[in-house]
Symmetry: C2
Subunit: 331 residues, 2 copies
């Protein structure tokens, strides 16, 4: 599965910038893949790219109509549906990160089938997976892990990929969530895989590669999040990373959507190392990425320095400082 | 979901006893639920119960036609299909632990729908689950865990349930795999749940209960099995057990279907305790259940005694000795 670019990013009537964060992520990380945006009356988001109609986008070479916004309730609004069909008729494939399947919406599947267009429901993995073998694969792998959900695992992985590209290293970003998949154009929504096959899907996601090739794998959840730790462990075992980067938000007190206290960095390092050894005996922590957006510049600098000193690994805020110090230390 | 008894156990033309082990498990653990067996010409298995036709079973009060055998390839043989339809027409529901869904086989879904019968595809969880909350529930819980797959987790849990019943304790066996579900008449095939919801499904499986009530939960996989550790961790977090029993086969060297060495008992105890604390800070090991079927009686006794002594918890072979010593120590 490879979603073809350029994309026309459809924002519908997204109420604000947050509702269009998938589209924003694509613009931020893959501007070359974006032909433009399309907005409906009342849209409160603006990605700052060229405004296009479907017809203009098709003429400009756009290949995929990407639903780059979410709608409260996760369903496809009636008003959006006619635009999806118009895009199919104009020659574009359609990709969506919504929970609802495009293929399940009356009119859309039939139109796509009739015209030979592809529908990408990136939250719903296509194809089947094997159970994981645990066999060691060739090539190098980095996994971002977290003290919680939503602590910068995707951002950090993308920043590391970009820095490796800048340094001329052979690297692939391996996406495991819907926004990451739309950014990369491929990937597997690991939390949507049947649990028996989750580690196997992670193995399939980063296949054998050249000895100097890096796969930078987007982490999910946390080994210490009571809802999602199983997903995180399957991803750890299947990825068999050589190195991992711990992502953390230093002001957060409880984990997302539950009452569990946020995990400690030392526990995440020790458990990721202990459990990760099962499929890669040499796994080690390559650094700590801190989301210090809630801190002043001085406080952020202090927390970053203290963290690096306490754990004796490189630490940084990827947004404030980039990830150069972490990439410097990669094997 | 509750599968109604008595069962007519259909063995088809199962080639040998191993192919009918689901049926054998039901006879062993729930003889009162079995009206009889039905076999086709060439069947090499015999559960030692009354031989019945579908018509006779219906007259004898059987409520569910249970496919108690597997077929190489996991599909429903053409010859079996007509018997499934005959059972539906005779007034029975149908339950299957096969990978293939009954509801997907031409003729079966239509017949069931027309007659108002129920189809139970126990490998395919029905209904939807929430993501886990991590909230502590009332009642007491025991989970069997393992150094590998197929080391007696189901057998040990069933033996503990039976011993607790014998002692007059209020207890439920909570099944997490297809054979266990057919034995219990309900449960959730946890490895077939989408990984995002696996821990939530485990929470749903053992709801709030009275302070003296025990849920004995059938474990799956191993925290150290590279294919299934994510399933095991989701089940551990969702179950939030007060106690766990480690199941182990002392002569095995590598894990099932992979080249990974079998886990050490000490590692399973320490990781189950460390990770289990997230949802139950008081989790502790209640004992070790050894499958010593490959050892002589003297060797078995020596291994069991050494294990109890080394780990300072009760140890036994549930088949040779029962699980009394483990149940004696439950809180």
């Amino acid at each position: 599965m490879q979603i073809e670019t350029p994309y026309l990013l459809f924002l519908g009537d997204a109420r604000d910038a947050l509702a269009a964060k998938t589209g924003q992520g694509i613009v931020d990380w893959r501007p070359d893949a974006v032909a433009g945006q399309m907005r409906l009356p009342g849209c409160g988001a603006d990605l700052g790219v060229r405004e296009l109609t479907i017809a203009k986008a098709a003429r400009a070479g756009a290949r995929t109509f990407v639903i780059g916004a979410v709608n409260p309730g996760g369903v496809l609004p009636q008003a959006w549906r006619s635009h999806v069909i118009e895009a199919l008729e104009a020659g574009l494939d359609v990709a969506s990160g919504m929970h609802v399947r495009l293929a399940g919406i009356p009119g859309i599947a039939e139109t796509a089938h009739r015209l030979g267009r592809r529908l990408f429901d990136v939250r719903h993995p296509a194809g089947t997976f094997h159970t994981a073998s645990g066999r060691k694969r060739t090539g190098k792998r980095l996994l971002t892990v977290g003290t919680d959900c939503s602590v910068g695992k995707k951002y950090t992985a993308l920043a590391i990929e970009r820095e490796l590209v800048r340094r001329g290293v052979d690297v692939d970003y391996r996406a495991t969530g819907q926004t990451g998949i739309l950014i990369a154009g491929s990937g597997i929504a690991i939390d949507a895989v049947v649990s028996d096959f989750a580690a196997g899907a992670a193995e399939a996601l980063s296949p054998d590669a050249g000895a100097d090739h890096w796969d930078v794998v987007e982490g999910q959840g946390s080994l210490f999040h009571p809802s999602f730790a199983g997903v995180s462990l399957a991803l750890l075992h299947g990825t068999q990373p050589d190195t991992f980067v711990v992502c953390h938000e230093p002001t957060r007190r409880t984990m997302r959507n539950v009452e569990t206290p946020i995990a400690r960095i030392e526990d995440v390092i020790s458990e990721t190392t202990a459990l990760g050894r099962l499929t890669n005996p040499d796994v080690r922590c390559a650094g700590i990425a801190l989301d210090t957006s809630a801190l002043s510049e001085n406080d952020a600098k202090r927390v970053i320095d203290e963290t690096a000193s306490q754990f004796e690994v490189p630490a940084c805020d990827p947004v404030r400082q980039g990830v150069g110090v972490i990439v410097d230390g990669l094997p």
